[in-house]
């Protein structure tokens, strides 16, 4: 029996990943370094239950800016993504899209900050560019799935645009709309965390409140953010959408004017590798690159991979533990409602904010990052799997309790669970790299330090390395999903 189970490819793959994560734990830096972590955590929760909504007028402005950046960024990203999707068959377009989406919003923001400064364009482009890459991929998949038959019966001589408008768009419209509005929710999260690099969104005020120990202010901000995300179906209406999209650019704030000299200098001097800039030529470039690779890229890659693998397995375990909370096969309505609220909170808090909060409370190590990534991603996958179990009809005399969980439900949902997990592998890695900005030694840490030291040439190479690593994991994840014949819809 046991042999039968271990010979199943899905179980074997899971065990291999579990083993990798356990080995990773030996190398990982997992510790609580804060002197009094539990008191801080207590204070934080006290702040959540005693939110202070009226401490500063900045809060409402931050909320407004968060929504405005999300709308403008996602709208621009979806338009560009749609245009890219039309020519997605071309290999250069596919590579370009994969590249721009492999770079995290915060990295894009850090890049644009260097030459546009605190101009609204920085925040808008930081969201729009990676989102355009994601939209291009998903839209092209949706368009490809359209029924080809109506196109075949069109009268010959029908123009391309007419044919597209009549046979493709109507068939895909609902899917495109659903996916775009789902992305808008992701956009709100992206917009919120842009505040951590200084843009005027929620993250900025959260950072300010935390550093002053104003936990009640931080709590109010988080609660408002959850309410904003949870009420989206109420205020994001198709009829109101044009109003939002056209109005949003006027609420981005003034920011600071763009200094065009900076833009020019950034491209012609700052990002040119130092040896080339100093006229040392290619002979100087190799040692420079060598030093960068050995002292920064390699440790960054190593820590990013270790943390990603641990977080991936932690996410999987948490998802499997959490899905019964919302499954109709267990417990009563009260438990399910409580479970639902917990899962909504877990998945609507960006991993960056979770990691930031936990780092403040527990001190720097990989632990806050693992817990943050597992909570956020586990919340998403647990929710999807839990919802899936609700459509499973068990026979009337099916086992109950833990036997129902382990014999009836887990075997039925395990494949789609793995599909979601491997789909999110690349997302977890992208986030892991970015969490380095908070002081964990992943690639983001080295990127951020290079920028702090005004060594943009090094930062650009490290961002490039990060992008390639993400593309590699994305390819590997897709390979494993195909090998195990796992299918899934995109999540963000």
């Amino acid at each position: 029996m046991a042999r039968f189970m271990f010979s199943s490819p899905t179980v074997r793959t899971s065990l291999i990943f579990l083993a990798i994560a356990l080995v990773g734990l030996l190398f990982a830096d997992i510790a609580i370094t804060a002197s009094n972590p539990w008191r801080d955590l207590g204070n934080f929760f006290l702040g959540i239950v005693t939110p202070n909504f009226f401490s500063s007028e900045g809060l409402m402005t931050a909320l407004l800016r968060t929504v405005a950046f999300a709308f403008v960024g996602v709208a621009l990203g979806s338009i560009c993504g749609f245009l890219l999707a039309l020519v997605y068959k071309s290999l250069p377009v596919r590579i370009f899209s994969a590249f721009i989406r492999a770079i995290h919003e915060l990295f894009w923001a850090l890049i644009f900050l260097q030459f546009f400064g605190f101009h609204p364009l920085t925040g808008v482009l930081a969201i729009a560019i990676p989102y355009a890459g994601i939209f291009a991929k998903v839209y092209s998949e949706i368009l490809e799935e359209a029924d080809p038959e109506p196109g075949r019966v069109l009268p010959p001589g029908t123009g391309n645009i007419t044919a597209f408008l009549y046979t493709r768009i109507p068939d895909c419209w609902v899917k495109i709309r659903t996916y775009t509005s789902y992305r808008l929710e992701c956009g709100l999260r992206s917009s919120a965390i842009l505040g951590f690099v200084g843009l005027p969104t929620l993250g900025f005020y959260l950072d300010a409140s935390f550093s002053q120990g104003l936990y009640s202010d931080a709590g109010a901000m988080l609660i408002l953010f959850y309410v904003l995300v949870a009420t989206m179906p109420l205020w994001v209406r198709p009829k109101l959408l044009p109003v939002y999209v056209l109005g949003a650019p006027f609420f981005l704030g003034e920011g600071l004017p763009i200094v065009w000299g900076n833009v020019e200098r950034f491209f012609t001097e700052d990002i040119v590798p130092a040896p080339l800039r100093n006229g040392e030529g290619l002979t100087g470039l190799m040692p420079w690159l060598n030093d960068l690779m050995i002292n920064e890229a390699m440790p960054g890659i190593w820590n990013t991979i270790v943390l990603t693998q641990i977080a991936l397995v932690a996410t999987g375990i948490l998802s499997l533990l959490a899905f019964p909370l919302i499954s109709s096969h267990f417990g009563g309505p009260l438990r399910r409602n409580a479970g639902n609220v917990a899962m909504v909170i877990a998945r609507s808090t960006p991993e960056y904010i979770l990691a930031y909060i936990l780092l403040q409370l527990w001190g720097p190590s990989m632990l806050p990052a693992v817990v943050a990534l597992a909570l956020h991603n586990g919340g998403i996958i647990g929710h999807l799997i839990g919802r899936q179990t609700n459509s499973i009809k068990l026979r009337a005399d099916a086992a109950t309790g833990f036997n129902r969980y382990s014999w009836e439900l887990v075997p039925r949902v395990y494949r789609s669970f793995l599909a979601f997990l491997f789909y999110r592998w690349e997302i977890i890695m992208r986030e892991t790299a970015i969490l380095g900005i908070l002081g964990i030694y992943t690639l983001g840490f080295y990127v951020d330090s290079a920028i702090q030291n005004i060594r943009f040439d090094r930062a650009m190479v490290l961002i490039l390395v990060t992008a390639l690593l993400n593309i590699g994991v994305d390819t590997l994840g897709r390979y494993i999903r195909r090998k195990l014949a796992l299918q899934t819809m995109p999540t963000c």
């Binding site: 029924d147 019966v153 009268p155 645009i161 009549y166």
Partner: protein, 216 residues
């Protein structure tokens, strides 16, 4: 052009020949019924002929080719997309012009579908969907009709009335039919297909139902 000579028609499916080589001479005014048991290659033959005479034919494929998210009006209007500019077609998508509305409305009257003019085709029954595809072919108004079981989901009286319409509106037609009765009543020439080849080709007045049954 409404007569044509089709020769050397062949089709293979995963390495196995399912049609031909087969030749068929279609004279202007011919109303041909393709008969034969299912799997004999009728649908494939219709598709092959369509590839040859594309520009001058109205097609009713077996799976209808409707855009489910669009209304009945728009699906019918698609029969004449080539006659208008892109601008005109795009405007029609948002708000159809009165002239086209009236035309499509009249067309749907004979099919008993006027009350569904603005319903999305996804909401229709199988028989109603089939009538939308028929209306599109009629609206297309090409000289040749190519149809694959166009009345398979319609009841007796409606099937007869649609077959009358198709006979009167198209000067030349090739229709795959499994209903021998309809084939004899509405077509002038019966072509029987067996194992991808023509096993029978006779004017319908020379045939009775039992002659055709030997193909099955």
């Amino acid at each position: 052009m409404s007569g044509f000579d089709l020769s050397g028609l062949t089709a293979s499916f995963s390495g196995k020949r399912v049609i031909g080589p087969l030749s068929l001479n279609v004279n202007p005014g011919d109303k041909i019924a393709l008969v034969g048991k299912s799997g004999a290659g009728k649908s494939t033959l219709i598709r092959l002929i369509h590839e040859r005479v594309d520009r001058d034919s109205s097609l009713i494929p077996q799976d209808l080719g409707l855009v489910n998210a669009l209304s009945v009006f728009h699906n019918v209007f698609m029969g004449q997309l080539d006659k208008h500019s892109t601008w005109y077609n795009t405007m029609t998508l948002a708000r159809p012009f009165a002239k086209d509305r009236a035309e499509v409305h009249t067309l749907l009257q004979s099919l008993g579908m006027t009350e569904k003019l603005w319903a999305p085709t996804a909401s229709l029954s199988g028989g109603q969907r089939q009538r939308v595809a028929i209306a599109r072919a009629l609206y297309r108004n090409a000289p040749v009709l190519l149809a694959d079981e166009p009345v398979s989901a319609l009841d007796g009286p409606m099937a007869n009335s649609v077959m009358t319409d198709l006979r009167d509106r198209f000067s030349t037609s090739i229709i795959a039919l499994h209903d021998v009765e309809l084939a004899l009543n509405y077509c002038t020439r019966i072509v029987g297909i067996q194992d991808g080849h023509i096993a029978l080709d006779q004017p319908s007045e020379n045939l009775v139902a039992s002659d055709i049954m030997s193909l099955y």
